[in-house]
Amino acid sequence: MKPAIFDYFRATSLEHACELLSTHGDDAKILAGGQSLIAAMNYRLARPQVLIDISNIDNPNQITDETTGVRVKATTTQAFAEHDPVLRRRLPVLADAIRHIAHFQIRNKGTVGGSIVNADPASELPAMSLLLDAEYEIQSASNKQIMPAEDFFITYMTTALQSDEVLVSILFQEPPKNSGWGLHEVARRAGDFALVGSAAVIALDVDDKCSYARVVLFGVASTPVRAKEVEDAIVGQVCSNKFFEQAARKVSEVVDAESDVHVTDEYRGNVAEVLTIRALADALGRAKAAS
């Protein structure tokens, strides 16, 4: 199918985009890479009357090395981020996660900010935002604010972003020194949306006890979710793969999966637990290698 009729504006600056948004309000949608939006428009699942194209605002691909982490301009393509040397060095889990997004042809156009704002609960970048304590820089014609990622995702494809606001940049925080990471997902075919995914970061103190843990699941609820129950069970404990099998049982407390055309809710819950054990095991291995 083809998109319904709309009017198109090419924003020349962020301020211009905000001004257009405040004029057109609920009728307008921001267009960046369009890899989810245009597909939805081709199906006429989305019928915005106005598109405001921000993909050509000066130097759309920008990644900045900051003290606490790496800042990514929202319009940066996923492919650019995936291959950025600073991002790969400081946030290897993020680079690995991006590799799982669709196919390279999609990543050449799809943006980091677009995937976050689209808020598909099975997608990687919202989950990485929770894993890496991301902060979102948000702007409207009248206001600027910083919002933590944990306040951003409301439910399926729905975020706290207001209709006059635009996501400007994302600060992904670097995990503690001497930490390791793990990321596993299951999809029907390479490049498909994950049926279930799990990501973990672990840091060890001098006694090999866990001093820091982050566990995030995606594809198992209406938003990506932090498995705080699993984290709490791990922090302060001496880690081993055997111990993770026990700790990951708490995954069932955060999984709120529904059955769909692909798999049952029971399958999602079981796989979430197994993938969490694997993600934690990889994180432990890398944390030991780093310390």
Partner: protein, 165 residues
């Protein structure tokens, strides 16, 4: 009713000036407005890869791109590969190895592989399979397509120019 917009687009080194509805997809612009029908339209939601073209040298889905978004960017389509009817080494490798059956998916595969081989001139068969995963072929089972890409890589390396694809 929305007014038509003027568009100036550089495709295969030629600049075209047209007036289009903003909702015109790049795939439809190429096919219906420029008569460049080598770019095929399959699923229209980014899955099948038939409509893959190069934008600024990078393969993208022309069905998930509005023509207006391509303004100011160099577009290359399947029609740019041959030289006055003489096949490029990439096309020739597909010809020699029967890397197609019905041929519907072939333009998208060739554009994807042109960019892939430029980035990775000596790929393994596994890397080729992964790179092909964004282009669906419903006839061949991919074996001969992988053979074709291997042959294209070898031909480019032996001629000393991976750019020649």
């Amino acid at each position: 009713m929305v007014d038509k917009k003027k568009i100036s687009l550089n495709v295969n080194g030629v600049t075209y000036d047209k007036e289009i509805e903003p909702r015109t997809l790049l795939s439809d612009f190429l096919r219906h407005h420029l008569d460049l029908t080598g770019t095929h339209v399959g699923c229209e939601h980014g899955i099948c890869g038939s409509c893959t073209i190069l934008m600024e040298g990078l393969p993208v889905r022309s069905c998930l791109t509005f023509a207006l978004q391509a303004e100011g960017k160099a577009i290359e389509t399947i029609e740019s590969l041959d030289t006055d009817g003489e096949l490029s080494s990439l096309q020739n490798a597909f010809w020699e190895n029967q890397g197609l059956q019905c041929g519907f998916c072939t333009p998208g595969i060739l554009m994807s592989m042109k960019a892939f081989l430029k980035d990775n001139p000596k790929p393994s068969r596994d890397e080729i399979r992964e790179a092909l995963s964004g282009n669906l072929c419903r006839c061949t089972g991919y074996h001969d397509i992988v053979d074709s890409v291997v042959a294209a890589a070898e031909a480019a390396l032996s001629s000393g120019s991976a750019e020649q694809a």
